[in-house]
């Protein structure tokens, strides 16, 4: 590691060796590290909450003490997969959001706003209610196919001499509205028990995640992270425009396809395991961008921010459950994220058209 002799306008660290060469802003690295630590810390605190309250010391003693008792079952068997899900799914959603916001060049271009969530959700509802299976692989492939199919439809419908951000978003809203009414129809025709469970799942809940679906989800998550790391430089270059990207040695078509597949896969993995968790993908990249003061959305910082946000929402849902009733974490992210989106719109309007009278 040595200091660069060029002034980039921000403090940065450069790594150059035979395998890898790159430069990263110190602030971005610091913020990401801090956010990841916050996410893990919140997840650890979440381990102590539940019907059987524990202290942090007890949790650590159980996890690392080697004793396989009742508390081990609770902490390692039940609560740990949920806490890991909060961190990992949050990070995945952050990555997915960053990819789509970069591709659509629009801070609103998150997969949930564009309607991929609705497609994945419809596919899973059909799988549960019609085929009557809860197997993880069925649900994951259904979510992937549904998400991809919706992505394709939205892309084709909004294509008119190129893709324009707002048009794509509104087309996504229209497609999502159709799918949502199909979902409502299916749920309203189901047995009350099935409907309640689909309804709970449909609100986006990680509270029922167990190790069985978590292990395949973690494997896919690792693959997604690897492909995101590999595609990150291409994403940076695509942000310069296709022509500039070509001159820099990127094939725009292939890179964009890879990015879309990676982005949809993040949503599909999360939706299959936990239902649609909205607005993390929307908010994480933008909040992270403001914190890191980076010029564009950054995959690393978005992942860290997503993890911190979902862990925080998870802890909040546990606290509400203690005080009142269990709440799906997706409802918390919807309520916070909807408010965030409204604030973002007001701000954008004010910036574009001057301040309010």
């Amino acid at each position: 590691m040595n200091k660069s002799s060029i002034a980039f306008g921000y403090r940065s660290r450069t790594v150059r060796n035979r395998l890898f060469s790159g430069r990263a802003s110190v602030r971005l690295l610091t913020v990401s590290a801090v956010l990841f630590l916050v996410a893990v810390g919140l997840a650890a605190v979440a381990l102590t909450h539940g019907d059987y309250p524990l202290t942090l010391q007890q949790v650590f003693a159980t996890l690392f003490g080697g004793e396989r008792g009742f508390e081990w079952t609770i902490v390692a068997g039940w609560r740990l997969p949920i806490a890991i899900a909060a961190v990992v799914f949050g990070a995945l959603l952050g990555i997915g959001g960053a990819i789509f916001q970069s591709l659509t060049r629009n801070p609103l271009g998150a997969p949930d706003v564009i309607g991929f969530d609705a497609g994945a959700y419809t596919a899973v509802v059909v799988t549960i209610l019609v085929i009557d299976t809860r197997s993880y692989w069925y649900m994951a492939s259904a979510a992937l196919i549904g998400g991809m199919g919706t992505a394709f439809v939205v892309y084709v419908l909004s294509y008119r001499r190129g893709i324009q951000g707002f048009r794509m978003i509104i087309v996504g809203i229209g497609v999502a509205a159709m799918l949502a009414s199909v979902n409502t129809y299916l749920v309203s025709r189901a047995e009350l028990d099935d409907a309640l469970s689909v309804g709970y799942w449909g609100a986006g809940s990680i509270a029922r995640v167990t190790w069985a679906p978590m292990i395949p989800a973690l494997v896919i998550a690792a693959a997604i992270v690897v492909s995101a790391v590999l595609l990150a430089p291409a994403m940076r270059r695509l942000e310069l425009g296709d022509d500039a990207a070509v001159t820099l040695g990127t094939r725009p078509g292939a890179a964009r396809l890879g990015l879309i597949v990676t982005g949809v896969a993040t949503v599909a993995v999360v939706t299959a395991a936990a239902g649609p968790i909205s607005f993390i993908a929307l908010a994480a990249p933008q909040v992270a961008r403001r914190l890191t003061r980076s010029p564009g959305v950054s995959l690393l910082a978005s992942a860290a921010m997503g993890a911190a946000l979902l862990s925080g929402a998870h802890l909040l849902s546990l606290l509400i459950a203690q005080a009142y009733r269990p709440v799906p974490v997706g409802l918390i992210t919807v309520c916070l994220g909807g408010g965030y989106l409204i604030w973002l719109l007001i701000r954008e309007t004010q910036q574009r058209y001057g301040l309010a009278r």
């Binding site: 159709m178 609100a203 919807v334």
Partner: protein
């Protein structure tokens, strides 16, 4: 009030356009009335026990105590009447919203007014244990008005009017947020979930005539205000400043417009749980016949929207017999492509 005489051509040299506009309006009125009559007749004929339309027509005029007469008068007439009423309410409130916000993509469902009313009703049912529409109707009004004002504030946060896309996004954000809260309330209480499960998707079946009658005065008042506002809305279409210099009271028109939309959409949502996209589609279709004059748009919307709702209802009854698909689901499946088509047009104005 503006005079009821037709608008005079401003340009002396273009008198040819006027007769053709009259022709189109007359033809449009005939088409719409025919559609309304046909869908109304189909609506009393079709169902779990289909009657030939001729028989339904006979029974309508002579209530003879037969089984057919019983079905038509106790089940299908109230339902058809309700469809006509809520159709007119959603259609006119859509036309009003499009004129007020000068946004061709406006609809009570898209801008979150229905979600606001629905959320308030969920609170009324869940927290206050209200079961009769006389109680939660007022919740629907308050919720709808609050959502309407909120979206309006977002839209007017900047100096100029917000772009249609921004307003739509704000409405969608508000809708998902409110629906999130509503879902939360229904999930934590199974009783509320059961009470509201079919209400939330926009059904016009199984709603008693007494409930319709309870809401009727509010819907009529809303329609009356809408008709009275048509003239001022025409001048608002020219821009606030020009409208003010023409003698239109812009602030009063907006407040009354919000009031009318609240009465129409809130009342109709309290009855049906919200039927989306009717208010989006109908004014656009109606404009083919009427041109940009709000007086005609509102009048024609009030007649065309019921035909659309009844058609959607009949389709929902026919395609999955003996089951039914709720009107709200059919209109969403039909209406969402209209939204997509509108946004695909090069200039999404059309106003």
């Amino acid at each position: 009030m503006p005079p009821t005489s037709p608008p005079q051509p401003l340009v002396k040299g273009a008198p040819v356009a006027v007769p053709s506009l009259y022709g189109r309006r007359a033809a449009g009125l005939l088409v719409i009335l025919a559609a309304l009559g046909i869908t109304g007749l189909l609506s009393v004929s079709f169902g779990a026990n289909p009657l030939p339309p001729v028989r339904a027509w006979e029974v309508l005029w002579s209530r003879d105590g037969s089984e057919a007469s019983h079905i038509v008068w106790t089940v299908r007439m109230p339902r058809t009447l309700l469809g006509v009423l809520v159709g007119a309410a959603f259609g006119v409130s859509g036309a009003l919203l499009q004129a007020l916000t000068r946004n061709p993509l406006a609809d009570t469902e898209i801008l979150g007014v229905n979600a606001g009313a629905g959320f308030a009703v969920t609170i009324g049912v869940g927290f206050f244990g209200l079961t009769s529409i006389h109680g939660y109707l007022w919740f629907a009004f308050v919720g709808g008005a609050a959502a309407m004002v909120l979206v309006y504030l977002i839209g007017s946060a900047g100096r100029a009017a917000a772009s249609p896309a921004v307003l739509v996004l704000a409405g969608v954000a508000l809708t998902v947020m409110l629906n999130g809260f509503s879902t939360f309330l229904t999930l934590i209480d199974e009783e509320t979930f059961r009470a509201l499960r079919s209400w939330k998707i926009g059904a016009i079946a199984g709603i008693g005539l007494d409930e319709t009658v309870a809401v009727l005065p509010f819907l009529l008042l809303g329609l009356l205000i809408a008709v009275l506002l048509a003239g001022p809305l025409n001048s608002i279409a020219l821009g606030d400043d020009l409208a003010a210099s023409l003698g239109t009271k812009v602030g009063r028109t907006r407040v009354l417009g919000i009031l009318a939309v609240t009465l129409l959409a809130g009342g109709a949502t309290a009855l049906t749980g919200g039927i989306g996209f009717v208010g989006l589609m109908v004014p656009h279709i109606v404009r083919w016949f009427t041109g940009p004059d709000q007086r005609w748009i509102i009048l024609y919307s009030a007649l065309a929207a019921p035909a659309l709702v009844l058609a959607a209802d009949v389709i929902g009854r026919v395609i999955v017999r003996p089951g039914e698909i709720e009107v709200g689901i059919v209109t969403a499946v039909v209406g969402a492509p209209v939204l997509i088509a509108l946004v695909r047009r090069r200039t999404a104005s059309g106003l």
